[in-house]
Subunit: 234 residues, 2 copies
DNA sequence: TGCCTTTGGTCTAGTTTCCGATCCATGAAG
DNA sequence: CTTCATGGATCGGAAACTAGACCAAAGGCA
């Protein structure tokens, strides 16, 4: 017997490009106001035609993720930090339960990744984490901090050497779309740095237990961010 | 900066159909020797044309997942239990490390699902689990037992009320493709029944701790199956 | 000022994939 | 030996995608 038959939903090529770029904006890898590569170059990297890529850019522009300008110094530019932050908050406030489920999934897989990473991380993995931590420390603004945070967490997930876990963490981070900073005034920045530093130390020491506990602090920050947004929206 | 740019890989409609049917065979939901619906009916359910569906069937036939016969009582038939079992064992023996990573991911998410399910399961969820357990008990052969097992685990995952967790468990089970039974002679059947019964009891009692422990027994069986196959292949 | 270069905007022709429909071939049941 | 549900094959058209050429804007620079 066949179970749970739904109509198939083939994803068009331009839809894949939209998803990929949107995910990078959500996760913070693409910075606000950043300029994307030229259409001809980007379509080449994606392996799709320029016409198809332009369809994708049109969708992103319609959804206010980017704005496109013509001319010699033109191109497609990621929206500014204010707009992105507003979109992120709205998205969470509109369906808080959904965001909490995403965090739930993220916490489960990120914790597991941390435990495995403590046993499997290589020198290259640790190097990537240290670099991300340095970026976080020297970041001039919240957007750069979020970018470094994502880079760090993806490096941890990768070093668990489990493709499914990596994909899960990546998916959850991209799906979440947290705003850049929930409370710029308080000591959350130094607290975050301390948590990531503890995590890195645990992975360097090959201690799964410590890594798990350090990741708990990181994950607690995600819960806090969601809670704060849903409260301020009420 | 854009990170990790790879060429996009648009999935053709027939490819989606292949994946869907293959996953159902892997997870045991589609039984050996079972006959699929007629092409006209199946293409309608998938929302694709008959020509496109036939492309998918051709791929599955080439990969020995099904065989197609013409005539009044013809149709597409899932391969027999021997062939499927052999394919499953080969798949695991060829890349044991990959299968272990899948089990790893399955264990992480299935354990989490069990804990959440203990708190969130509704009467409909429990009913589905009881029905699956009855199917398992009365199953005339190993294929039916595996089918009931999958139904039970999917019901548990669903009752955790977390779409990402559900999808994760589903993906892992479909990716695993375990053979029907690793040791038909010993008491593994009654042991499995006991494990699932304990899991059901924990969920009925709304006890996350007990559910976690019961799921551990279930997951231990998955590890055992992988271990046995990789040992016998060596 | 006026050209040059880089970039997005537009158009056309051709290919691939998919669809809808029709008709043919097979083979078991009655 | 007829019936008929099923797979097998073919055709015309629609939609998505590609490749390439050319136009239009706008900043930089002599």
């Amino acid at each position: 017997m066949l179970w749970g038959l739904r109509p198939l939903e083939p994803k068009a090529a331009h839809g894949l490009a939209v998803d990929l770029l949107q995910r990078q904006i959500h996760s913070g890898l693409l910075l606000p106001d950043e300029r994307l590569p030229a259409e001809r170059q980007l379509s080449d990297q994606f392996g799709i035609s320029r016409v198809t890529l332009r369809e994708a850019l049109r969708v992103l522009e319609t959804n206010r993720y980017i704005s496109v300008r013509r001319g010699a110094q033109g191109g497609a530019f990621v929206s500014d930090a204010d707009r992105l932050g507003q979109m992120a908050r709205r998205r969470i406030a509109r369906a808080p339960a959904a965001s909490m489920r995403v965090v739930e999934y993220l916490v489960v897989n990120q914790s597991a990744a941390a435990r495995f990473a403590a046993l499997r991380r290589g020198p290259a993995d640790l190097k990537k984490m240290r670099e991300a931590l340095a970026l976080m420390r020297d970041a001039p603004d919240a957007a750069r901090r979020k970018q470094a945070e994502t880079l760090f967490l993806l490096a941890v997930a990768d070093s668990a050497q489990n493709p499914l876990l990596s994909r899960g963490v990546e998916d959850a981070i991209a799906e979440l779309f947290l705003p850049f900073e929930t409370a710029p005034e308080d000591g959350s920045v130094t607290a975050a740095l301390a948590a990531y530093q503890a995590l890195l130390a645990a992975l360097e020491a090959e201690s799964p237990g410590d890594a798990d506990r350090a990741m708990e602090m990181v994950n607690a920050r995600f819960w806090g961010a969601i809670r704060q947004i849903t409260r301020s929206a009420a």
